[in-house]
Amino acid sequence: MRWCDGAVSRAAEETNRRMLRARDAMDRGYAEPLDVPALARIAQVSEAHFTRTFRATFGEAPHRYLQRRRVERAMFLLRETDHSVTDICFKVGFASPGTFSRTFRAIVGRSPRTYRKEAVATDVPTCFTMAWTRPSA
């Protein structure tokens, strides 16, 4: 492997690792509005580059990732708690129940209420639940 190939690989790995750090921050702050400037600082890229680099690394735009993360958290709360659907909507960061229900149904294929009826509680560590129940659509 040529030296410059190695240098390019190391740079790509470093970028991946920084974007992963930003994605972890999104996972923690999923209920907050998407803060591209803050995430760009975490990832040590410019704001202009953040969205493009995130998409190149993880295959989807940050906003879409956040939407799917919010729906996954909503699925968790629907399974594990008896909070109302409206409460869950706001708790996970959606601005309106209508948007929440529409987005949830589009991604999960069922309404929040139907999902709750059909769901089964799990005892799996959070990071696995988060990864495996995050809807792929």
Binding site: S9, E13, E14, N16, R17, M19, L20, D24, T126
Partner: protein, 136 residues
């Protein structure tokens, strides 16, 4: 048929940096560190528990082609490889504070779960690690 799980493996991108982290920060101890010529066999374990080892393996030839090793490195840094580690602890919050003071990067703070209190962190390369204080 089997008596125990003795080894598991995770990919690390640099074995010296891995030692700084897993031993220097997390407090594991070196179980084996052997230059075998074709690879560096490096395992760590919980102090006092050598029967359960974690192999810190660096991807590369001859085990993997350069191209495949590069793919593995990219996946590790995206947090997409399987090698998660889950430890148990007597005191999750105290361990969290200790590791935080050592500069460990946490992704989840200690949180009450149905099975106990746990939190999550990443190693320098992107691997996921959790530790859990089980419910009594």
């Amino acid at each position: 048929m089997f008596n125990a799980i003795t080894h598991s493996q995770i990919y690390v991108l640099d074995q010296d940096r891995a030692l700084d982290f897993y031993v220097g920060k997390l407090g594991l101890e070196v179980n084996a560190d052997v230059d075998m010529g074709f690879m560096r066999w490096l395992t760590v374990s919980i102090p006092g528990h050598p029967e359960r080892q974690i192999l810190l393996e660096k991807p590369g030839p001859p085990s993997l082609s350069e191209e495949t090793a590069q793919q593995v490195r990219e996946l590790v840094t995206k947090g997409a490889t399987g090698g998660s580690l889950i430890f148990s602890t007597d005191d999750c919050r105290k361990t969290y504070e200790t590791l935080l003071s050592r500069g460990v990067e946490f992704t989840e703070e200690p949180t009450d779960r149905s099975y106990g209190i746990d939190c999550a962190l990443r190693d320098p390369f992107g691997n996921r690690i959790r530790f859990t204080q089980p419910k009594p």
